[in-house]
Amino acid sequence: MVLSTIVKSIEYMLKRPYTRLVPAKSRPFKTERLRGAHLLDMSKCTGCSMCQLVCPANAIDMVEVEGNYPQNPRRRFPRIDLHKCTYCGLCVEYCPFNALYMTSITGFELYTRDKKTTLKTPLELSKVDPSLITVRREMLAVKEVKPGG
C-alpha cells in the first residue's frame, strides 16, 4: 500500500502544478462571468440611489460630481468602496437604468494597504476599460415574471 502511494505521488509530481504564483508568475484566475470591480456608465445613471439601497455591505454612497448630465439634474452618482464590497452583484441586478456593470478586475489589482485607492469615485468608475465587462444586468435580471413557476 505504501509503495502504491509512492508511485501515485511520483505521478502527481510529474503533473502540472495546481498552485500558481500570483502575481509573480501568473495572472489571477479569470472566468467569463467573474464578478469583479464595477464600471459606471455616467451617461445612463440618473442618481436614483437604488444601488445604495440594495447594497448589503453599505459600500456605496452617492456623491455630487461636477459637470453637465441632463439625465441626472442633481449630478449625484455612486461612489463605491471596493474594500467593503462583497462583489455580490446586487447593485448591477437592481439598477433600473443599466448603468452599472461588473468587470474582470479582481484579485491583486485591488489589493493595497492604502484604502484611499480603493474608494472609487464615480469618475474613476466610469474610466474602466469597457472590454473587461463580464456581468451585465441582462444576465441577472428575472426572465420569468409570473409567480407559480
Binding site: T5, R33, C88, Y94, M139, E144, P147
Partner: protein, 365 residues
C-alpha cells in the same frame, strides 16, 4: 502516579478544530472532560440578517461556514421560497442540488487536510486540494465566484447556466472521482491511519442522534439517517442514491462514510445535470415585501443537518431568522460522551476532532 490537572487547548493550536478553545481536565495523559470555550468568531449573524431587507439578506446567510457555504445558501433560499409562497422552476431546483453536492464534495476534500494532518499523512491531502480546486474553478465558471457563490436566491437561481454546462459538469465529476479514489486508497489503506483511527472515538449512531448530532457522525455509527431521504427537499426524491453507513462508529468509519458520500454525491450530480437545460426559466420574481408567515427548511449539509427558520410579519425585513447548526453538539455532548466511555489521550484528541469535523464559525455565528 500522575495527578489531575487542567490544560487549555486552543484556540491557537494546530490540533484544535478552528478558532475554538477547550478547557481539558486531565488525569495523567488521559482526557477526562472537555469544556468548550466558544465565541471567538461571534458576529451576530442572525441579527445582522434581521437588520437587512429581504432582497439583500441572503448575501449574509451562508457566510458563516467557509467550507460548505452552498448548503446554507440553498437552505435559506428554500426557507424564503416558503415565506414568499413561490415555487421555483424545476431547473433551479435541480441546479441547487448540483450546487449543494459539489459544495459537500469540496468540504469533504478540505476535511482530508485535517484528518490527514492529525494522523501525520500530508501527501493525500494535497491531492484532495486538487479536487477541491477543480470544483472551485467550476463554481467560478458558473456563478462568477470561487467560494461564496451567491447564486441560489429566493425564487430560483440567479442566472442562466453557461454554454456547455452539462458536458463540463459531467467531465468534472469523472475527474474528481479519479482524484478521490487516489486519496481514499492512500489515506484509508494506510497502516498508520488505520492504527490511529480504529477504535478511537467510538459512538453508535442512535446514541449520537439522541445527543443531538446528525450527518456523517450518525451514519458512521451505523444509523441510516439522512435528511435527503427522510424529508426530501429540492428534487432529492427524484434521484437515486444510497446512504453509506459505517459499522463500529469509530473515527475510521466516519472517514470511510465521508469518502463513500462523495461517490454518492457525484452520482446525484450526474443525474441532476440532465435536467438543467439552457433556455428554460430559472427564476421567479419575488415581491419586495413578504406576506406574514413562516418558512422552515432542513438541509443535509456536509457536517449534518442545517435547519433555517424565518419568521415574517409582513415587513421589508425578516422578523426573526434562526439557524440550527450541526457542529455544536459534536464538540459538547458527543465529545464528552466519547471521553466518558473511552480512554482518550491527548494524542488521540486531534484525530477525534478531525473525524467529527466541526466548523468553528458555524458554532459561534
Amino acid at each position: 502516579m500522575a495527578g489531575s490537572y487542567t490544560v487549555y487547548f486552543g484556540p491557537q493550536h494546530p490540533g484544535a478544530p478552528g478558532n475554538i478553545g477547550f478547557k481539558l481536565e486531565l488525569e495523567g495523559e488521559r482526557v477526562v472532560k472537555a469544556e468548550l470555550i466558544p465565541g471567538f468568531l461571534h458576529r451576530g449573524f442572525e441579527k445582522m440578517i434581521e437588520n437587512r431587507k429581504w432582497e439583500n439578506s441572503y448575501v449574509l446567510s451562508y457566510r458563516f461556514c467557509v467550507e460548505d457555504p452552498d448548503s446554507l445558501e440553498v437552505a435559506y433560499a428554500e426557507a424564503l421560497d416558503k415565506v414568499f409562497r413561490v415555487e421555483p422552476p424545476e431547473k433551479a431546483r435541480y441546479f441547487r442540488m448540483i450546487q449543494a453536492e459539489f459544495s459537500r464534495i469540496a468540504s469533504h476534500m478540505f476535511w482530508v487536510h485535517f484528518m490527514a494532518g492529525s494522523t501525520g499523512l500530508r501527501t493525500p491531502a494535497y491531492w484532495a486540494s486538487a479536487a477541491r480546486e477543480e470544483i472551485l474553478k467550476w463554481f467560478a465558471w458558473v456563478t462568477g465566484h470561487r467560494v461564496y457563490h451567491n447564486f441560489s436566491v429566493p425564487g430560483g437561481i440567479r442566472g442562466e447556466v453557461p454554454e456547455g454546462f452539462g458536458e463540463r459538469t459531467t467531465q468534472l465529476t469523472y475527474l474528481v472521482e479519479d482524484i478521490v479514489k487516489d486519496v481514499e486508497k492512500a489515506l484509508l489503506g494506510n497502516r498508520v491511519f488505520k492504527r490511529r483511527t480504529r477504535g478511537v472515538g467510538v459512538i453508535k449512531g442512535d446514541v449520537a442522534l439522541k445527543l443531538g448530532a446528525t450527518g456523517p457522525v450518525v451514519r458512521g455509527g451505523g444509523l441510516k439517517y439522512d435528511t435527503r431521504k427522510i424529508a426530501p427537499y429540492e428534487r432529492y426524491d427524484k434521484v437515486s442514491f444510497e446512504i453509506p453507513v459505517g459499522e463500529v462508529g469509530d473515527s475510521y468509519d466516519r472517514a470511510l462514510v465521508r469518502f463513500r458520500e462523495v461517490y454518492e454525491s457525484l452520482k446525484i450530480i450526474r443525474q441532476a445535470v440532465l435536467e438543467v437545460r439552457r433556455g428554460e426559466p430559472y427564476r421567479v420574481k419575488v415581491p419586495l415585501t413578504a406576506p406574514p408567515g413562516r418558512g422552515y427548511a432542513r438541509v443535509e449539509a456536509a457536517r449534518g443537518e442545517y435547519t433555517v427558520h424565518v419568521v415574517s410579519t409582513g415587513g421589508r425585513s425578516p422578523y426573526r431568522v434562526r439557524f440550527k447548526s450541526p457542529s455544536l453538539p459534536l464538540l459538547t455532548t458527543v465529545l464528552n460522551y466519547i471521553l466518558e466511555n473511552e480512554e482518550v489521550t491527548i494524542a488521540d484528541l486531534p484525530v477525534i476532532f478531525a473525524s467529527l469535523d466541526p466548523c468553528a464559525p458555524d458554532i459561534d455565528r
